[in-house]
């Protein structure tokens, strides 16, 4: 259980860091990046709580895998919006 505790700490540390950055930063790119870090932290937490007697439950693994793919789609959409906002600022 100790090694899970280590990763739980890392995961919640990532969540805290991302929360801090989201609350203090207005730059669009950095906000997208912080949201990604938040998602990674949650993924670690999810998988760390899925360990049981040395085996990792397959269902949360599938959940996290789904989460990663969904996140890249949303990130691409966010960045496309950010770029378009920037382009319109020029015109």
């Amino acid at each position: 259980m100790t090694s899970e505790l280590i990763y739980i700490c890392a995961g919640s540390g990532l969540v805290g860091l991302a929360f801090y950055r989201l609350a203090t930063c207005r730059d669009m790119l950095l906000r997208v990046l912080s949201l990604n870090v938040l998602a990674v932290g949650i993924a670690i937490l999810f998988l760390a709580s899925a360990r049981d007697a040395g085996m990792t439950d397959a269902v949360p693994q599938a959940f996290v895998l789904t989460g990663i793919v969904v996140l890249v789609a949303v990130t691409a959409a966010l960045l496309a919006l950010a770029e378009q906002i920037d382009r319109q600022r020029d015109e």
Binding site: A10, A23, L29, L30
Partner: protein
């Protein structure tokens, strides 16, 4: 020994993430993010989730990093407005409390998972032997179907919003030998991951991400000029994924009377066919999400 490794790795993850989020240089923070992603992939292996680790390395670190770099290059540097120190201290305190509470909540959770017993009991009926693939394409295929719909919707959104014509940059003479070796290898690796996904870690998403990486090498290296024609073909392939998966779901219902219940004994064939098409479609979608689409509607 392995405990020391875990501690170092966890510390590395948090440290690189802090470095990525702490700096104001965009490229540096993206580099930090990619390194964090790779370290996280390693810790996921340590947590016994190699399927997720593959996806995190290929998609979470690689593709997201590439997307962020592309945008960092296109976006103008933002005005750096620093919030007052009082606010920052308060937010930092809240963040620390949040982290602590979260760690406590997860650590003390009883964690009596019901799933492992159910999965191992029914794995034999699922048609594949890799439990993660069994969950993704059989036990919870509905989630995966909706996930493909998420990718589809993101693609449409990008098409509405950012009609950027991707312009290949001449990347120099070393790209050609690189592409000659790497692109076929990507194709081979994608096929391998797809096939082995039935029994050991791997599957459609990882294979699709690698295939997308290979095609991006071709596009960015200027070997496959993304003409509107090529892009609309890509769009067709991308859209095919959701269509085929939905039609397959409906035809399983027509054949067996239950949504996404594969016909008796043919589960493996169905899963592999769906996965093969999804791989192509995911690769096309990820590629198009990266390079954007012409706004002119498809002719």
């Amino acid at each position: 020994m392995s405990l020391a490794f875990d501690v170092l790795l966890a510390f590395g993850v948090v440290f690189t993430a802090a470095a990525a989020l702490g700096t104001h240089d965009r490229v540096a923070s993206i580099a930090g993010f990619v390194v964090t992603g790779l370290l996280v992939a390693l810790s996921l292996v340590r947590l016994g989730a190699p399927d997720v680790a593959l996806a995190e390395a290929a998609i979470g670190a690689g593709l997201t990093g590439a997307l962020l770099l592309r945008s960092a290059w296109r976006l103008k540097p933002a005005e750096s407005r620093v919030s007052p120190p009082i606010d920052r201290i308060i937010v930092a305190l809240i963040a620390v409390c949040l982290s602590g509470a979260l760690a406590w909540a997860v650590y003390t959770a009883p964690g009596a998972a019901l799933y492992p017993a159910l999965v191992s009991e029914r794995l034999a009926e699922s048609g594949v032997t890799n439990p993660v693939t069994a969950v993704l394409l059989n036990f919870r295929a509905w989630d995966t179907l909706l996930e493909i719909a998420v990718l589809f919707v993101a693609l449409i959104l990008v098409r509405i919003v950012a009609p950027a014509h991707p312009q290949p940059v001449v990347l120099g003479e070393l790209m050609l030998p690189f592409a000659r070796i790497v692109v076929p290898m990507c194709a081979f690796l994608a096929g391998h991951l797809l096939w082995q996904g039935a029994s050991v870690p791997g599957g459609a998403f990882q294979a699709g991400a690698i295939l997308a990486g290979g095609s991006l090498v071709l596009m960015l290296g200027g070997f496959a000029v993304p003409t509107p024609r090529l892009l609309s073909w890509g769009m067709m392939v991308a859209l095919l994924g959701l269509a085929v998966f939905a039609v397959a779901a409906l035809s399983t219902e027509a054949l067996t009377g239950t949504l996404l219940l594969y016909p008796d004994g043919a589960a493996k064939i169905w899963i592999l066919m769906i996965e093969a098409l999804l791989t192509l479609s995911i690769a096309a979608m990820l590629c198009l999400l990266f390079c954007g689409m012409p706004r002119r509607p498809l002719k």
